[in-house]
Amino acid sequence: MVLTMAVRIGEERRRPSRRTVLRAALGSAAGAVSLAACDGPRSEAQQLPAPDPLNPFYHDTAALLGRYDAAIATQPALAERLGPIRDAHRTHLEALAREIGPGLDTAAATSPGPGPGEPSSLAALSAAEQAASAAAREACLRAPSYRAALLGSIAAARASHVAALS
């Protein structure tokens, strides 16, 4: 019973690898001896964490932030209006990085932002926010409970950006 609880908590927080579940099952079925037997250094080394499902969302957030950086750089007159929205996206990015933790895929984080031809008009930014809000809403609906509030607030913030840009 205790073991069942431990595995369920693992699912909630980290989504255990198949190997973790298998080891737990072996442990309960065959006892501590067989658990120790398959717990050598080699199996530890192979136990890579599954990629965090929030990684693509994190990188899309970084791209959205990049669009605001580009828009403010090319249209300084819009800085006062766009600055707080840009800062919100940066705050979201930092919160997502903390949420993902060691599972953050930093290799893809160096991907370049939008190209110079990316439209940065208010209408284009508003359309991007609309799509990004819908994506965050979907992510919230699919998320485990402990991530629902963060993603819901990000969806709401992006929708409010659409209102602020209109």
Binding site: I85, G152, S153, A156
Partner: protein, 141 residues
């Protein structure tokens, strides 16, 4: 707290929001009052949706109070807009708190309510001249 208890909390907040709009609507000019009427209708629709959901769960649905204590007097349009922002922020907070406790259709109900509250708060801040009109994490207390 169970999902039904979170939904009951949200229902109480929607009741209070509807009451507040009844008070603040009387202090708004012609241009702003239509936005408040739209917002009030949205809160009524959300209230009804939560009541349907609680009935399906066979959970008690708290009734509206006859009156609610407002955070400040509402003598003019500026105060009415401040109250509108406050009502939407409070509702956003309640719905955000519900999110981790609910799943499926209830999660959808909660996130859509949170989104709508954040948008209405931003519109009210814009009319009130609050800069910036947005907050980074709507509903986070």
């Amino acid at each position: 707290m169970t999902a039904a208890e979170r939904l009951a909390d949200a229902l109480r907040a929607e009741h209070a929001a509807i009451y507040a709009y009844g008070v603040l609507g009387a202090r708004l000019d012609g241009q702003t009052v239509s936005a408040a009427q739209t917002a009030e209708a949205a809160h009524r629709a959300r209230r009804d949706a939560v009541m349907v959901r609680l009935a399906a769960l066979r959970a008690p649905a708290p009734p509206a109070e006859p009156a609610y204590a407002l955070p400040a007097p509402v003598p003019d349009q500026a105060a009415a807009l401040r109250l509108m922002v406050g009502v939407e922020e409070r509702c956003a907070g309640i719905w955000r708190q519900a999110l981790p406790e609910v799943t499926g259709d209830d999660r959808q109900l909660a996130v859509d309510a949170l989104i709508d509250c954040a948008v209405r708060a931003t519109k009210a801040r814009t009319v009130a001249g609050v800069r910036p009109p947005t907050v980074p994490f709507p509903g986070r207390q």
